[in-house]
Symmetry: D3
Subunit: 226 residues, 6 copies
C-alpha cells in the first residue's frame, strides 16, 4: 500500500500538495534553499531520517557507523532526509553511500547541507536535493548522531514515515496521516488542472478556465482513476 | 513595427545592449539576481508591468483580479515584468496564469520574486526569469496592486513600453526611446563581433581581432542587413 | 610531461583529490561559491594567474593591457585563474578574450567574480567556473593589476604552476609539488572505487564494498595503468 | 486624541503589541532587518509614507521635490515610513531633512534602506530605524515617487495613518482601526507583566508568575489607568 | 569548585581561551554570528542545553512545558545554551523566562536564534548573546524538544556541563575536561599579556614586548594568583 | 602639513567628503560593510596598507614578520588599512599589535576582515573599523603578503598616502591629490551646514534653509577659518 501511495503522490506536484495541505490546516511544510542536483524531476516516498551534530576533536563518537547502518537498512521507495545543519563545507553524502541507497531502491535523498561526487550521483540516477556540492566529506566536521527520529530539514519538521514529495519547485513534507488525503485531492486537482490547461491552450480567458467552472470539471471517475 | 523591433533586439545579446546603453549615457539598467528557469535562451519585447504589495489579514483588497485581468490583456510578443518585492516564499506566477500568457503569445515573464510549477512552465515553453521557485502561491502573502505603471524590478526602473532583453547573462531594460538605436548599433556590433570571433578562431592575437581593426570591419550593408 | 600529468589528474575527481591532499597534510585548497557555467564537466591543468584591483576614476592604470597580454600568452592545457575580488556587477571575462584562450588551447577559466556572454562561452566550449554572469564588462569597475603571481581565488591560495582540478563538486588547487602524488594515489583510488561501485550495484552491504576489503582491492598493475 | 493614543501605544512594547495583534487575527506586521541608529528606545505614532523608485539617467523625474514637500508637511508626533527598496548604497535621509522633521516634532523615521549623517541624527535626537548608514545620498540612484499612499516597508504593508511602534525588538505596524484596542489590551498586559516580573524577582517559579494566575492579576482600575 | 572555576574562566578572554584550546588540539569551538544584546561584557559558566524543533500545525507536542521546566531548574552561575535552529522570526526567549533565569542566578543565555523584550533584558541585567531580536514569540513556529543533551549552537558541538565563555569577541565552548587547564594556562597568559601591554604602552617595539621575552615573563606565583 | 591636513579632514563628515569627491569626478571610494568596533566616532589620516593572502599548510611564508614590521613603522596620525580578504573566521588584528599601533600614535585601523580582543581595543581607545570580531587569530588561515602597496579594501582601491576619513556613516578614501581640496570645500560646506541646521531648528521650511539661499551663506572668512 505504501508503494501505491508513493506512486500516486509522485503524480502530485508540490504546488498542488501545498494547496491541499494548506486547505487541511498544515503550514510550514515546504523546505526551501535546496536544489535538485541529480536524478528525477519528481519523486515521492516515505521518509527515513538522519541527524548530524558538529564534530569536535576531543570527542570520539560511539556512533560513527550510524549513517552506514541506516543506509544499509533503506527499503525500496524510501527517501532519506538528512539534517546536516545547513553545513556548506562538509559533504553529508558521497557516491559510495549513495550507491548503496540506489542499489536498495531508495527513491532519493534530501539533504540540509551539501553532497559530493555529483557526477557519480548523476551517473547512477539517484535523485538528490541539497544546498550544493563540496568535495570535502563530513568526518572531522560533522558526525552522525541519531536516525529514525523527528528532525528538522530546511526549517521544516519531519517524522520518520511522513511522505516527501520533491520536484523542481522544492521539497514538501506530507504528514503520514494526511498522505492519503493529499493523494486523493491532489489527483482530483490534477484532472481539473489538465482540463484548465487545455482550455487555456485553446485560447479561453482565465475566468473560463481557472478555476474550472463547475460544469467543466472532470467527472469523479476520471479523478478517481487519475 | 514593434514586432520587427523586438525581433532585431532579440539578436542583440544583453552584453552588447549594455555596451550601447552605456555609450548612450544610461546606467543602472541591468537586473541582477534572477535566473532563467524555463523557456528560450534569448527573448526581447516590450514590457507590461505589475506591482505587488504585501498582503495583510485585516485588509481585503478590491484589486484581487488585477493580475488576471492584466494577463488576459497581454499581446503577442510582450514581456510581463513583475515587482514581487523579492519575496522568496510566495510564488507570483504559476502554470495557469502562465498558460494564459503563453496562449496569448507573450514572449516571457520576468519576476523579482519566485514562481511555481517550473515543470509545467518548461513543458509549455514560456520563458521565465525569476529568483527561484517555491510551491506556495502568493494569495495571503502578496496582493496585486497596480499594473501598467512604472515599477522597480531587481533594483532597475522600468516603464510600460520599455523593451526588455533577457538571456543567459541576465535581464536588461532598454528605454523605449533608445530601443531603435540599441537595435541598430547592436546589430552592427554583432556583425563585427562575428568577424572578431572568426579571426580569433583562426589564431589571431587579440590586438588583430578585437576590437576589430578598421580595415576588417563588416561593410555597412552587412550591418544594416544583419 | 605536464600534459600527461594534466590528463591523469583530469581522471581524478575533486572529491578524491581532496582525500589525497588531506592525507598529505594540506588544508584550505577547495574553492567554494563558484559554479560551472560552460564547458566540460571535468578539467585539470596548470594554473596561470591574474589579479584585479578596483578601478577609480582619478587613476589611469598603466596596466590596461595586462589581461590581454596574459591571455595571448596562454599555452595549451593551461587554466586561467582570476581573482576578480568576488565582484558581482563587473564581468572579468567575455567571449572575445575567451575566444582567444580557446584558440590557444586553454583548458578553462576559474573566476572569483562573474563573466559575460555565457551563450557564446557555451558555443565555443570553453570551460568556465565563476560566481555567475552579468552583462556589464569590468573596465571602469575593475582593472587588471598583476599576473603570474600568487593570488587568492575563493579564499584559496594559488601559485602559478599549481594544478587545478575542476568538476561538478567544485574547484581544487593541487600544489605543484604534490601533483604527481595526487595523480598516483588518486588513480589508485579510482580503481578501487570502481570495484566498490560494482559491488554495491551487485547488492553488497557497505561494509563489504566500501572501503574495499584488502582482498577485493585492484591489483597494483590495474592501478598503475588506470 | 491621536496624541493621547500615541502616548499610550508608546508604553506598549512591540512584543506585547505583537501578542495583541496576533490575537486579533493580524499577521505579517513586524518589520525585520532594521536597526535603531539614533534617538529614543521606544516611539509610537501615526505613519506618513514615502516611496522611492530607482533613478535612471534618461528620465528626469517631475517629482524631485516630493520628499522635501512631504517632510515640510509632517505634524507633531508623526512617524515617516520610507520604502527605499532596501537599497544599501544610497541614503534616503540625511541630517538636513531629518533636522526639518525634528523641528516639526516628528516622532521618528523608519527606512527600508540606509541613511547618512548618523552623528548628526544622534545629536539632534531624532529616532531613526534603518538598515544601516552610507555616506552617499540618494539622488542619481533613487528618486521619490509617491507619498501618503500604501507602501511596503521591510515586507510589511502600511497605510498612511496606521500606527507604528518601534523599540529595541523591531518595528510593528498597527492598523489604524485596531490601534485603540492594541493600546487598551497592551496596557492591561503591561500591568499584569509588571506583577509577573515582581513575582519572578521574588523567586516564584514560572507557573506561579507567568502567565499570571487569575487571583494575581492587576485590578481593572490599575489596567485602565496604566 | 564549579563556581571558582567559572570565576577564573571569566577572567580569560575568549581570544586567550582560543589559543589554549588550539594548543590542546581542539578545533571548531568558537560560535559565530551571535551578538551581545544585553548584560555583562564577559561571562563564564557551565552550560545547560535546550533544543528546539520547528512546529507543525498537525502535531501537538507533549513537551510544551519543557523550556519552562528547564529554566525553573537553572542553578546559580549556569549558562543556558539554546539551539533555536538559527530562526530569525520567532523569539526563543522573552523577558519572563529570562526574569526567572535571572532570579535563579543564571550567568547568561546563548541563543542560536533571536530573543524579544531586549529593553527588559537590559533592565534586568541578564547577559544574552543571540542573532538579534524579533517581537514574535516561538509558539507556533518552534517547539522545545529536548534539554540537557548534546546540541549544536552556531555550528559548534556543546555538551551539558561544558563551560561557556562569552565576551565581545564571541562565544567559546570549553570542553568540561579541559576547563581547568584552560583556566590555568589562560590566567598565566593574562599575567604575561598584562606585562606585554605595559611594555607596549612604554613604547617598546613588538619584538621586545610580544611574545614576552623569557626574562620578562610574570613569575609563577603571579600567574597562579592571577 | 600632513597633520594639519588630517586635523582639517577630521572635521569633514564622510557624507560631506562624498559630496565633494563626487563633484570632483571620483566614484567608488566609500567602503561598505564595516562597523565601528572601538575608539573615536571620527578619524582622518594618511593610509598605510597591508595585504593578506590565504595561508596553506604546504607553504611556509618568508614574510611572517611583515605585519609586525609594518606596525612598528607606523607614524603618528596614520591609519592602517588592511585587506584581509573579507575573512570572517581569522582575526587580522589583536590587542598586542593594536597596542603597539596605539603607542606610536596611529589614528586607527580599517580592516576588510575581523579583529579580536575588542574589549582590549576599547580600553586602549584605538579606533577600529572592521566586519566584526572573532576570537581566532590569523596565523594558519591568513598570511601577511605585502605592505605599502595599492590594495583593495571593501571593494575600494586605496594607495599608501591616500587619506582615510571614517565616521559613523562608514569609511571614505580620499585620493592624496584631492585631499587639500576636499578639506577646503568640506570645511566650507560645514560652515554652511551649520547655518542650515540653525535655520531648521528655528522652524524654517527646507527651501529657506537647505541648500542655503546665497544671502544666508557663511562669509568666506568663516569658511576659511572653519
Amino acid at each position: 500500500m505504501e508503494r501505491a501511495l508513493s506512486a500516486r503522490l509522485r503524480t502530485v506536484p508540490t504546488s498542488t500538495a501545498e494547496t491541499v495541505l494548506r486547505a487541511l490546516g498544515v503550514e510550514r511544510f515546504a523546505i526551501n534553499a535546496l536544489r535538485l542536483l541529480a536524478g528525477a524531476e519528481a519523486i515521492a516516498g516515505p521518509a527515513r531520517t538522519l541527524r548530524f551534530l558538529p564534530a569536535r576533536a576531543d570527542f570520539v563518537s560511539p556512533k560513527g557507523k550510524l549513517q552506514r547502518g541506516l543506509i544499509d537498512s533503506l527499503r525500496e521507495g524510501e527517501i532519506l532526509v538528512i539534517d546536516a545543519l545547513g553545513t556548506l563545507d562538509a559533504a553529508a553524502l558521497g557516491d559510495m553511500l549513495a550507491g548503496r541507497a540506489k542499489a536498495l531502491g531508495a527513491a532519493g535523498v534530501v539533504v540540509d547541507g551539501v553532497v559530493r561526487d555529483v557526477a557519480g550521483l548523476r551517473a547512477m540516477g539517484l535523485t538528490v536535493h541539497a544546498r550544493g556540492a563540496y568535495p570535502t566529506p563530513s568526518p572531522g566536521r560533522l558526525m552522525p548522531w541519531e536516525c529514525d527520529v523527528p528532525i528538522q530539514c530546511g526549517g521544516v519538521l519531519i517524522f520518520p514515515g511522513d511522505y516527501v514529495i520533491a520536484d523542481l519547485d522544492g521539497v514538501v513534507v506530507v504528514p503520514a496521516a494526511l498522505a492519503e488525503e493529499v493523494a486523493r485531492r491532489g489527483q482530483a486537482m490534477n484532472a481539473d488542472d489538465e482540463i484548465s490547461q487545455r482550455l487555456l491552450a485553446e485560447g479561453r480567458p482565465l475566468d473560463q478556465a481557472y478555476p474550472l467552472p463547475p460544469e467543466a470539471k472532470a467527472p469523479p471517475e476520471a479523478k478517481a482513476g487519475a
